[in-house]
């Protein structure tokens, strides 16, 4: 128990306060300008368009109505949203299960090795995720590498249809988002104070208990960051889901993209986008509340 108290003390130790002068505000101006220009203004435009109409060519007509939101609450769109959230949830859980041990191993390994291992995690980022997704297609297809290997080894007699299934979608998502889980957890693990772990052992805790009561609580900020970094973008991802899933199970990202292009219905796409944004904000709010409650 002394150890958890120490951890709690560590967690709250960093929140000392200081009044900011003009200097810091001046330094912040570029960032605030950036936020205004690329976050606040586009979001406001999205909201305005979502309450508008459009003409036959898809031009937005600024004529206030709530039709788009009424339409958005049809079971069909909600089901699509449900499927997207389910895919994102699976992706997050698998990324956490796979990513945590990797991050822990890297974070606790020798300092020189650490840099190399982190670089190995980062290297795939040097290539566009679309190219890497295309690579998966040539691995998973019926005449692809995996089936050739399985048949060559005599494990299966006929090729297996891996591609264009929910399995392929989740695999593509996990593959692309795994580094976003590993990196924040790694940062937490790296900062882990080894003496706390030693103290726990000295006090007679077994490895499982050390992990549950010392390591896990101390790396929790990394886990929370990782979950947000994976879950939120995974809901709205569209390119990977289309390529790997064959477009048979549309996700909310695909549907929104479609409204802005083929369906010529920007206002409806904007309404779906606003709803998705509200969902994200709600999940952010919930997670920060949860964290505050834990700290209290």
């Amino acid at each position: 128990m002394a150890v958890t108290a120490a951890a709690a003390a560590l967690g709250s130790g960093s929140s000392h306060q200081r009044r900011a002068g003009l200097g810091p505000w001046f330094c912040l101006t570029p960032m605030l300008g950036w936020l205004l220009l690329f976050v606040i203004v586009p979001t406001l435009m999205l909201v305005v368009v979502s309450f508008s109409e459009r003409d036959a060519l898809g031009r937005v007509i600024y004529n206030f109505n709530v039709e788009n939101y009424i339409r958005a609450f049809d079971w069909m769109w909600l089901k699509i949203l449900g499927i997207s959230v389910w895919y994102a949830f699976l992706t997050t859980v698998i990324c956490l299960i796979l990513g945590y041990p990797v991050a822990y191993f890297i974070g606790r390994s020798d300092e020189r090795l650490r840099g190399l291992l982190i670089m190995l995690v980062m290297i795939p980022f040097w290539t566009s995720f679309l190219i890497r997704t295309y690579a998966w297609i040539s691995i998973l297809s019926q005449e692809g590498l995996l089936n050739a290997a399985l048949m060559g080894a005599g494990l299966v007699s006929a090729p297996i249809g891996f591609m264009y299934t929910p399995f392929a979608v989740v695999l593509g998502l996990v593959y692309n988002f795994l580094p976003f889980m590993i990196l924040p957890i790694y940062t937490s693990v790296e900062k882990l104070d080894g003496s706390l772990i030693e103290a726990a052992y000295d006090l007679g805790a077994r490895p499982a208990r050390v992990f549950a009561q010392v390591v896990l609580p101390l790396t929790q900020p990394g886990i929370a960051a990782g979950i947000l970094l994976v879950f939120v973008p995974a809901i709205a991802m569209f390119a990977i889901t289309t390529l790997m899933g064959g477009g048979t199970n549309p996700t909310i990202g695909e549907v929104i993209q479609n409204q802005f292009t083929k369906a010529r219905n920007q206002p409806f796409g904007a309404a779906l986008g606003v709803l998705l944004l509200i969902l994200f904000l709600a999940s952010l709010w919930l997670s920060s509340r949860f964290r505050r409650e834990q700290e209290a």
Binding site: R54, L57, G58, I80, G246, G247, K262
Partner: protein, 345 residues
């Protein structure tokens, strides 16, 4: 029409935006389909005339329309499909062409000089045309395959690829039900719903960008795809047979046109005249083996190219081809129907 690896090109769109910053008046601002204008053609044009070409790309007519109408770019030349040309003429968004500056119009095949969406090429000049038809792997599909009815059978369930295009899917079901494909009314959509539902329960992959991929990888056996993709598959392996659906087939025509907002109309007309030259048109056909609207360029094709059944279907009667008309706001209904059926599977 929609070319493969659209998504890949999206990844480098940022670079293209940057490239567009240095626009000058002696530059042709071309707004075209992704991977539809061979780089060799652009280079040749610049080499001959000294005029630079700034290429920006889109992957659907709607995307092009949205950008053009938003007034985002000063496009001199665009590449709309037939129903978009029709809608743009109706909305007075295109500039009439000066035929005196485009003498090579004479190279066009007669049927392409009298298309119903723009008779006499007043506003548009065909770039490439093609069909939507059936490609099947003759090693795994015994046949005979004649029409849509032979594609969406229980034997092929889970082995079918189609274009990921709501309007296309709806038009096939309407053709199979004996309905006129351009009368996309609520009633007609309701009528074809059960048939579409049955068809779509059997489709494995929707892909407009590169439908040939799943066929050549062996993940599916049969598909309803662009003729250019079918032609490439046939060139790879003649086991990929091509059939124009007996119930009716869609023919698309992608044209060059000059928007009202264009700043360099002269250069745009110069480019149109340039690509109408038989040897330049042939360069386009080398990369995109679609149906050529250019009668003189067709003469330059090799025997193998001319005999590719997907590019030049034997016994083709072009008067039977179905051309899409613009359906305006009904497009949203079409999209909603297809999305709802996808979700129900």
């Amino acid at each position: 029409m929609k070319k493969h690896t659209t998504l890949l090109s999206a990844a480098i769109a940022g670079a293209m935006l940057l490239a567009g910053c240095g626009k000058k008046d002696d530059t042709l601002n071309l707004f075209a389909w992704t991977e539809y204008v061979p780089q060799a053609v652009i280079d040749k044009f610049t080499e001959e005339t000294g005029i630079k070409v700034a290429l920006e790309t889109y992957s659907s007519n709607e995307e092009m329309l949205a950008k053009l109408l938003a007034g985002g770019g000063d496009y001199d030349l665009i590449q709309p499909s037939e129903y978009t040309v029709e809608a743009m003429i109706k909305e007075d968004l295109l500039t009439p062409l000066d035929h005196a500056k485009i003498p090579n119009l004479k190279n066009l095949a007669p049927e392409f000089r009298a298309m119903p969406f723009d008779p006499g090429n007043k506003y548009s000049v065909p770039w490439l045309s093609g069909f939507v038809g059936i490609t099947y792997n003759a090693e795994t599909v015994p046949g005979p395959v004649v029409g849509y009815g032979d594609v969406f059978t229980p034997q092929h369930a889970g082995r079918i690829v189609t274009l990921d295009d709501s309007r296309e899917l709806v038009s096939w079901a309407m053709a199979a039900s004996g309905l006129p494909a351009n009368e996309v009314t609520d009633d007609n959509l309701e009528k074809i719903k059960p048939l579409l539902k049955d068809w779509m329960s059997k489709i494995k992959v929707y892909d407009s960008d590169s439908p040939k991929t799943s066929l050549s990888n062996g993940d599916v056996d049969i598909g309803v795809i662009w003729s250019g993709e079918g032609a490439i598959l046939f060139n790879q392996n003649p086991k990929f047979q091509w059939v124009l659906p007996a119930e009716g087939f869609h023919m698309f025509i992608d044209s060059l046109a000059i928007p009202k907002t264009a700043r360099n109309k002269d250069i745009a007309e110069q480019f149109i005249n340039f690509i109408l030259r038989p040897e330049i048109s042939k360069m386009i056909l080398d990369e995109f083996p679609y149906y050529s609207p250019n009668a003189e360029a067709r003469k330059l094709l090799s025997e193998a190219e001319r005999n590719n059944p997907a590019s030049y279907p034997p016994g083709l009667d072009i008067t039977k081809a179905l051309l899409f008309k613009d359906v305006g706001e009904q497009g949203s209904k079409v999209d909603e129907l297809i999305t709802s059926l996808k979700v129900q599977q």
